[in-house]
Symmetry: C2
């Protein structure tokens, strides 16, 4: 049972029950206590900026001791002293999403009623639930207003729900590579991932051995994910040179691996370790959260969803993002416009793929300058 809780994370314990948005038959939709893990950077007296993280990430958005080391944190190009989300200017907070495995309550959390992990008895988690758990933490910390909520992918969903659910709490939102609903391509690739995890012989209906780090279904799921995070053209640029140069078999030991491409090796290198630091049930829950996110369905229509929004909105999208193609950001923009809300779309001409918002060069050259302008308004 993997965990991606960062050692720097603080875990806040709420002894009161937490009720989820979606109670189903046989499930109360309530957990008896709530954990919310977070990290903060900067001066408490500065305006507060909330960072929403994506599915596989954790609270460690930046590492002030290693500001230039991509491997020590996941968004140090974006968050830190002198970065666009400036920790000298803002009080920055990043909260592990509900349902994850980075310290906040999730399926791997021990159910106090049974002494065992919740597993598949954990209630279904919506983005709205994540936001409500975050609000509970901010209330406990005495934070009364957010200067901005900024997040990519599933973090962008959180930013949108923040603006809808707590309109007078949020001044600005910046969803990157996000949308008002999940598109069908992503719904399909997420379903493949869920099934790959659940069809693993060792998954055991979610009651897998908590010392078992051999959940190959989770590794397969992650490989599927990786084929969608960067665009085909980026893969070609990244790996074709190896492809070309590798004119001899690189392995002798295994007949069926003799002719193995760098691209295949890469997939395994990035996916195998992931299955040891992430909880398989969390993955199932969060993929379902993703697939069920649909603001139009939840609020009647996309325009209806944004009726009471007060936050200024900057949707950032990229041309090469197959998971969140720009037209989905346009849909949000149009629905905001119907309501006369101050929204705009920043379309980045960038073929990298969905992960564009994590790439330092793209952050520094194409995201930071317009984002700084937006935050300064």
């Amino acid at each position: 049972m993997g965990s991606n809780r960062h050692p720097r994370a603080t875990v806040h314990h709420f002894a009161e029950p937490f009720t989820f948005e979606t109670p189903f038959m046989g499930h109360s939709g309530t957990i008896p206590e709530l954990y919310v893990a977070y990290e903060v950077w900067g001066d408490r007296r500065n305006p507060a900026v909330l960072i929403g993280h994506a599915l596989s990430q954790n609270t460690h958005a930046t590492d002030l001791e290693h500001p230039d080391d991509d491997r020590k944190s996941w968004w140090s190009s974006m968050v830190g002293p002198g970065r666009v989300i400036d920790t000298n200017r803002f009080y920055v907070i990043c909260i592990n999403m509900l349902g994850g495995c980075g310290g906040s309550s999730g399926p791997a959390t021990i159910d106090p009623d049974t002494g065992r992990p919740f597993g598949l008895n954990f209630p279904i988690v919506t983005v709205g639930d994540m936001v409500r758990s975050q609000k509970r933490l901010l209330d406990a910390l005495g934070i009364e207003r957010l200067y901005a909520v900024i997040g990519g992918s599933l973090g962008g969903y959180q930013a949108l729900e923040w603006a809808i659910m707590y309109p007078d709490f949020v001044e600005r939102i910046v969803p990157l590579g996000a949308a008002g609903c999940t598109n069908q391509f992503m719904i399909m690739t997420n379903r493949v991932q869920i099934d790959a995890i659940q069809m693993d012989c060792n998954y055991n209906h979610g009651n897998y051995n908590d010392k078992d780090d051999s959940l190959t279904g989770l590794a397969i799921a992650r490989m599927v994910g990786f084929t969608t995070f960067i665009s085909p053209i980026t893969m070609e640029r990244k790996f074709a040179k190896y492809h070309e140069s590798q004119r001899e078999p690189i392995r002798d030991s295994d007949f069926h691996e003799q002719m193995f491409h760098e691209a295949e090796d890469y997939l395994r290198r990035v996916s195998g370790p992931f299955s040891k630091i992430f909880d398989a049930n969390s993955m199932v829950y969060l993929l379902q959260t993703w697939n069920h996110f649909d603001l139009a369905k939840k609020y009647g229509s996309l325009a209806q969803a944004f009726r009471d929004v007060q936050a200024k909105t900057l949707m950032i999208c990229a041309t090469g993002d197959n998971l969140f193609p720009p037209y989905l950001s346009e849909d949000v923009y149009k629905a905001m416009q119907v309501n006369d809300k101050p929204a705009r779309v920043l379309l980045i001409d960038e073929e990298y793929g969905h992960d564009f918002f994590l790439i330092p060069d793209i952050i520094f050259e194409k995201i930071s300058p317009p984002l700084k302008e937006f935050l300064d308004e």
Copy 2:
């Protein structure tokens, strides 16, 4: 151990050994006998046209008794009386690819030396091997010349190798959705599929129970494939209406399936049955065939590969094909041009995705007219 051998297929048995292109250490690269399955349509005295089928298909390219029923054969819009590959005008032959499970020799074939299926002891299969096995059959049938070789995807690879390996045997080739090498995106998604199959607890290093139809890894692999065969925008058009309409849970029985999208249902519907009619080892072998196909690597360069080609070439590609983006067809065209070979590219402005060459509307409107012209030249 699934098989997609069609009842109409004739299986030709060669008692002589067949040696593959790629002998590896510990493997002779030879099988002691060879089976080649095929179907034919039309008059034997007409010019012969060879159809190359794609990975999951079989010999049954058309069904003369059900010419308008897509489900009875896989290419009846293309092949039949009055179709562009006209069975009144051509002698049409479709051969099951070597390594497959549609009647030709493959890993599920019984090794006469052991009395058990070859399994992973079957030699590595290249597109060149497929073509050589097909040539052996055509020789046995007394066919001395091919008017055309036409095939999509892996069938398109076969068409290219035919023109290279037997230049004076082939007058025309028409690869659809193909290329001179497999691009990195496809190499990656193929690798995910191979690993999904091989990591299945019931796979047992390829020695799975031949009555076992519970190889979920193969179903997962197929689901991965399906997320790449049609383009994201096609998925959106195909499924978004269901997504929108489905405002209530459609299943009560399973908590975690309550909110299930049509797109997810579709994926399972098309993938589950496949795992019962296809052999998992064949899938592994053919995905590897795909990943190792690289004419530039085999022949020194793409231009070098086409040096002796005599066939006229028509590459057909489509804008929305992420697996075989048009630039790969352009690469073939340029390498043909270097050699002053009569080649051209037909770029179809069609967002459907890689499977464009299987879709009746696209075949009738956009493929058949230019293809007829090419075949009439």
